[in-house]
């Protein structure tokens, strides 16, 4: 007694078709399920992203948006640096630092490469150590430890001031500008500054007569006194040799005599060279004018 509206009669023995049976079995296969659940969404996402980025203008717009966003964050007042403060430096060094950094404030702290800037500041001759940091309130804080000048070095290029380790501190216009510092000269002298300083210290008793140290042949020192006297020191054991000379001087008043060279290069055989006609002039000591040598 089914209705006569043309609807199909109910199926008596419904059975899946071969195709639907196979599809159902395929659907129940775990690998296939995993492929559908993970593989297809991933593929769709990757495909959509690739299609979107594939277009030149869209890609440019994407990058523009990114940079704009980045800039707007960088330009926030919290990240701006307004001024620079330099501690522990003399006015000339401060000026040098300002020149080489050449920052026009205000600037975003993202644009400051502190490590690079520290390298630049530390690269200055007069600077031994530099620390840079951005302190709250937008201040670029630079703490500088300057090199302490120890000797004046006369080289082929002119005069320079070196610190106790032999690093160049600054150039010097004339020797007279720093008469308090001892003088060294000669090629390679700048590499042996600590030794030179110890030699100067040893020469304390005759300090008023010392003109300077000359590096000879980049291997040994000559101590130059006034009256063109020279003490030739050996390559090794220079300090000991100098002490022997000082001891001789104190005992025998040797350097006050008319001697041009005290040759200590061979420690077993110290040699003296007398000035020409020295015997004639004994007792008639001649004073030489002490004075600065023009640089």
């Amino acid at each position: 007694m089914r209705p006569l509206d043309g609807s199909p009669p109910p199926r008596r023995d419904p059975a899946p078709t071969r195709l639907s049976y196979r599809l159902h079995r395929l659907w129940l296969t775990p690998f296939f399920r995993a492929l559908l659940r993970i593989g297809i969404p991933v593929f769709c996402l990757v495909f959509a992203a690739a299609w979107y980025v594939g277009d030149e203008t869209r890609r440019a717009a994407l990058f523009d948006t990114y940079y704009e966003l980045r800039r707007s964050i960088e330009q926030r007042p919290e990240f701006m640096v307004a001024m620079m403060q330099i501690d522990g430096a003399s006015p000339e060094v401060v000026q040098d630092i300002q020149e080489i950094l050449a920052i026009d404030f205000p600037v975003s702290s993202f644009e400051l490469d502190l490590e690079y800037m520290r390298g630049m500041v530390a690269g200055l001759d007069a600077v031994e150590k530099a620390e840079l940091r951005i302190s709250p309130g937008g201040i670029l804080q630079i703490e500088v430890v300057e090199r302490q000048p120890a000797v004046v070095w006369r080289s082929r290029d002119g005069l320079a001031v070196l610190d106790a380790q032999g690093h160049r501190v600054s150039a010097l216009q004339s020797r007279a500008a720093r008469p308090d510092l001892p003088l060294i000269a000669g090629d390679g002298a700048q590499d042996r500054v600590p030794e030179a300083l110890s030699l100067f210290a040893a020469a304390g008793p005759i300090a008023d007569r010392v003109r300077g140290l000359v590096r000879v042949g980049e291997r040994r020192w000559d101590l130059v006194l006034d009256r063109n006297q020279r003490i030739l020191l050996p390559e090794t054991g220079a300090l000991r040799a100098l002490e022997r000379v000082i001891a001789l001087d104190q005992a025998e008043d040797m350097l006050a005599r008319d001697i041009v060279v005290v040759d200590m290069r061979i420690s077993a055989r110290p040699t003296l060279r007398l000035a020409p006609g020295a015997t004639l002039k004994t007792g008639n000591t001649r004073t030489t004018q002490a004075g600065a040598i023009e640089g």
Binding site: M1, D13, H24, L28, P30
Partner: protein, 444 residues
């Protein structure tokens, strides 16, 4: 016999594969319904390893995770007679069971009710080479059994070694390791029509399923509905299906005889349909709701509307008393039981120590059947239901599912069959390399 040996071993390998994968399907192709169960082998027993049968006879190793039945079509007398229809029905059942289990099954164990099973008792004996029985000796004595001519187009379905005898000691279950001179064995072989079996295999193959085993449904029903002491002492299981009634006799936990009567519940329905002049569907409904085999005075007064949709008022308003219905059903049920009786007599059932008879199958639900069966078959008759397995839906626990549940047990723990033993070297064809290898292995 080598062909059979290879194909049966291939099925055993399939079963092993399915066990490794953990999922196997049970397919009961009957004349009235096609049932499919999906088993998952993940119980505590599944990973136990070792020898012997585990807890609950191996049933705790599996769980039923999908069950479906569909009305059978294209099957008559437990045999396929319209393959396309049967294939569709199998597809329906398998798909529904898969859907319930939410998993895909590739391996299936099937059973069939018809195909004219025939039982043979075989015996063989060998002299042992050395006095201890080894596994090869068991294989040799099994292949020494004298195989009768089964006839054309018949195939072996089961070959169970039932009994071993060593010298004068008989009744051994497992002779391995025992000492004696002469080993004899009794083997029960069940053959079926090979064409019918091929049809079933073809249908299953068409559904993209791999066959992992075939069993006789009478055997499977006996496995599930006979309790342990009945199997031990001797009992017959009558599986009253739709198109065929299976008979199997068990003793000492082995099936020693199986047969099938080509009559079943469908014939009762057909009788009702003819007798009351109603369609088969109505007849089936009347049979299941009002059927019976013992009429009482009350039944004369109980009128059943049998209906109809011809448009003729007189015809559509017919009613019939329940006594009349019983009058139609009873002769047919008696006929079935008489046939079963004849089969039991032919098998020598009366010589068994215990003659318990268990009625199961969908047809055994007719009210009053046990009383009628007691008159025909003997006093010890009971109605059997399959034992309960884990996860089986309530709807599938009735006697109609006896063979399906029996197949579950068969899948979980099959009894040793002839092909579970290595084929002895002398059965290989001469000059084969395998034979040489075997000979070396046996002798060194």
């Amino acid at each position: 016999m080598t062909d059979l040996y290879q194909s049966q071993r291939a099925m055993r390998r399939m079963r092993k594969q399915a066990m490794d994968r953990g999922v196997i399907a049970i397919l009961d192709v009957g004349s009235s319904k096609i049932g499919c169960l999906v088993l998952r082998f993940d119980g505590p027993d599944a990973f136990r390893g070792g020898d012997g049968v585990g807890a609950l006879a191996g049933q705790s190793s599996f769980r039923v995770i999908g069950a479906a039945t569909t009305r059978s079509r294209g099957v008559r007398f437990g045999e396929i007679h319209a393959m396309q229809e049967t294939e569709r029905a199998i597809r329906t059942a398998v798909q529904a069971a898969q859907k319930m289990a939410q998993t895909r099954v590739d391996h299936v164990i099937a059973c069939m009710a018809g195909a004219q099973p025939r039982s043979y008792g075989l015996e063989g004996a060998i002299d042992l080479a050395d006095s201890t029985v080894r596994e090869e000796d068991v294989a040799r004595v099994l292949s020494a059994c004298e195989v009768p001519d089964f006839g054309d187009g018949r195939e072996v379905l089961h070959a169970h070694p039932v009994n071993f005898a060593l010298d004068h000691r008989s009744g051994l279950n497992d002779p391995r390791g025992q000492i004696g001179n002469r080993l004899a064995c009794d083997m029960h072989v069940l053959t079926v029509e090979s064409a019918v079996a091929q049809n079933l295999l073809y249908c299953i193959k068409r559904c993209d399923l791999e066959l992992a085993g075939v069993a006789s449904s009478a055997y499977a029903a006996g496995l599930s509905s006979l309790v342990e002491d009945e199997q031990e002492l001797g009992a017959a299981c009558i599986d009253m299906g739709g198109g065929a009634t299976g008979v199997s006799i068990f003793i000492k936990k082995h099936m020693i005889y199986a047969d099938s009567v080509r009559l079943g519940g469908d014939h009762i329905t057909a009788d009702i349909s003819k007798g009351l002049q109603v369609p088969m569907a109505t007849a089936e409904r009347i049979k299941t709701f009002h059927g019976g085999v013992v009429a009482t005075g009350m039944d004369d007064r109980e009128m059943i509307e049998i209906g109809g949709d011809t448009g003729d008022y007189e015809h559509d308003r017919r009613s019939v008393s329940r006594a009349e219905l019983i009058g139609i059903m009873r002769p047919r049920v008696e006929e079935i039981l008489e046939d079963v009786r004849a089969r039991l007599d032919a098998a020598g059932f009366e010589h068994l120590p215990s003659q318990q008879i268990v009625l199961t199958g969908g047809g055994s639900q007719i009210p009053g059947l046990d009383g009628l069966a007691a008159r025909i078959l003997g006093q010890q008759v009971r109605l059997g239901r399959p034992l309960r397995v884990q996860g089986l839906p309530q709807a599938a626990t009735g006697p109609a599912f006896a063979s399906a549940v029996g197949l579950c047990l068969f899948a979980a723990h099959p009894q040793d069959e002839w092909w579970d033993f290595e084929i002895p070297a002398e059965r290989y064809p001469a000059r084969s390399l395998k034979r040489a290898v075997r000979w070396f292995r046996d002798n060194w």
